[in-house]
Symmetry: C2
Subunit: 262 residues, 2 copies
Amino acid sequence: MQKLTIVKIGGNIIDDEPQLSAFLQEFANIEGAKILVHGGGKLATNMSTKLGIETQMVDGRRITDAETLKVVSMVYAGWVNKNITAKLNALGAASVGVCGVDGGSIPAQKRPVVTVDYGFVGDVDAATINIPFFQLLLDGGYIPVVAPITADAAQLLNTNADTIASCLAIALSLYYSTGLVYCFEKNGVLKNVEDSDSVIEKLDEKTYHSLRKSGGIVKGMIPKLDNSFIALDNGVQEVIIGNSAHLSQLLTHQSGTRIVLT
Amino acid sequence: MQKLTIVKIGGNIIDDEPQLSAFLQEFANIEGAKILVHGGGKLATNMSTKLGIETQMVDGRRITDAETLKVVSMVYAGWVNKNITAKLNALGAASVGVCGVDGGSIPAQKRPVVTVDYGFVGDVDAATINIPFFQLLLDGGYIPVVAPITADAAQLLNTNADTIASCLAIALSLYYSTGLVYCFEKNGVLKNVEDSDSVIEKLDEKTYHSLRKSGGIVKGMIPKLDNSFIALDNGVQEVIIGNSAHLSQLLTHQSGTRIVLT
């Protein structure tokens, strides 16, 4: 099977022009088929503040009301997506910026209200990804650059970028030997959150669950790690979590945390 | 040659939900290959106002400063483009929202400063359109929905949607029998701008130039008509200008103005 590398970036790097450019140069150098999934950085929050939209949080999670949906759609699928795509094209890495709406590529369902109404938030499922759409772009020689906006039949929906990356990886692992790389601002999954050098080189599912029980995994890491194990359980070849500043070392296992089943 | 219909919409319809939905239903019904090019409506102006960005105009033309570029990129390539694309997909018309950045589809040059510095405005050229990119989408069964944002090697650029539509039509007329339809809020090119029923059914280049000389063509129509004649001069089969509320009648010559060379 052909190799496919799916990289997800989020956090501060998106707002930091020199860091982002350095990252994109390394990303452009990755051999073979690749997909970039991005979040939105602080720009969405800044834009909401400027527009006087209050960020509503419940249980540490952002509620997407109608005005917030407009802002995240504009920032993620408009400004950030097209800037990253233009930069990659300028580096000679032919790229197409899309979101889950385009080509019906990532169908979503508005999250049902159980105890909390998260608002215009989309839940996605690897089984419904429009694989031929991504193959069309990849086989055409283009890198899909994916913004985390989706839609159901009625409206756009805000969607978790980590989940989109893992769903894409799972779906495409049917046709490609797929590696998934979660990049963020830390050097990997840390034994001790205070010590940025305490990177766990290899994390298996059993260790993860015992660390999680003992409180050794910080809360923000849990969805990323859950997504990682789901990906590995469903055909994804390799999952790595690490610093966006070390992309090439992550790919050669010289940096970051390798997530493994056993 | 296969038939291709390129429709450009702009103006108030983009902000008017029921009108837009009715238009998109008619657009979805067009047989054969099709492309939709859209402007941004009033949302960009509203957003700029809310963000405290002053619209600078020189000679009736908007200057795109850095802040305005951000707003138009977000509104056109983000919110408007993804909403239209989601609506078409919901109608069963598989669509992909792109802008000129994606796939390097519509290369642009930042407009050189002659007497006026228009800021981050892109000039485009039919000869540099990435035709295979549009063929990839069209042959894949997708409708490209095109937002008027482009880029040069350095940055995103704001670009005239009428010009993008005519450049696309010219480039693709090498491979398709191409019709170009400019939709706006009037019923066509009017003999008398005060009388909405005074539609000129057929306008040739000679009549256009004499009407233009005598002041019979309103200023806002001039770029649209110039683009129309350039398109016809360069291989586009048919150009029609009319009301977005009458799309199907425009296509069957029961409404609007047909632009003809002689």
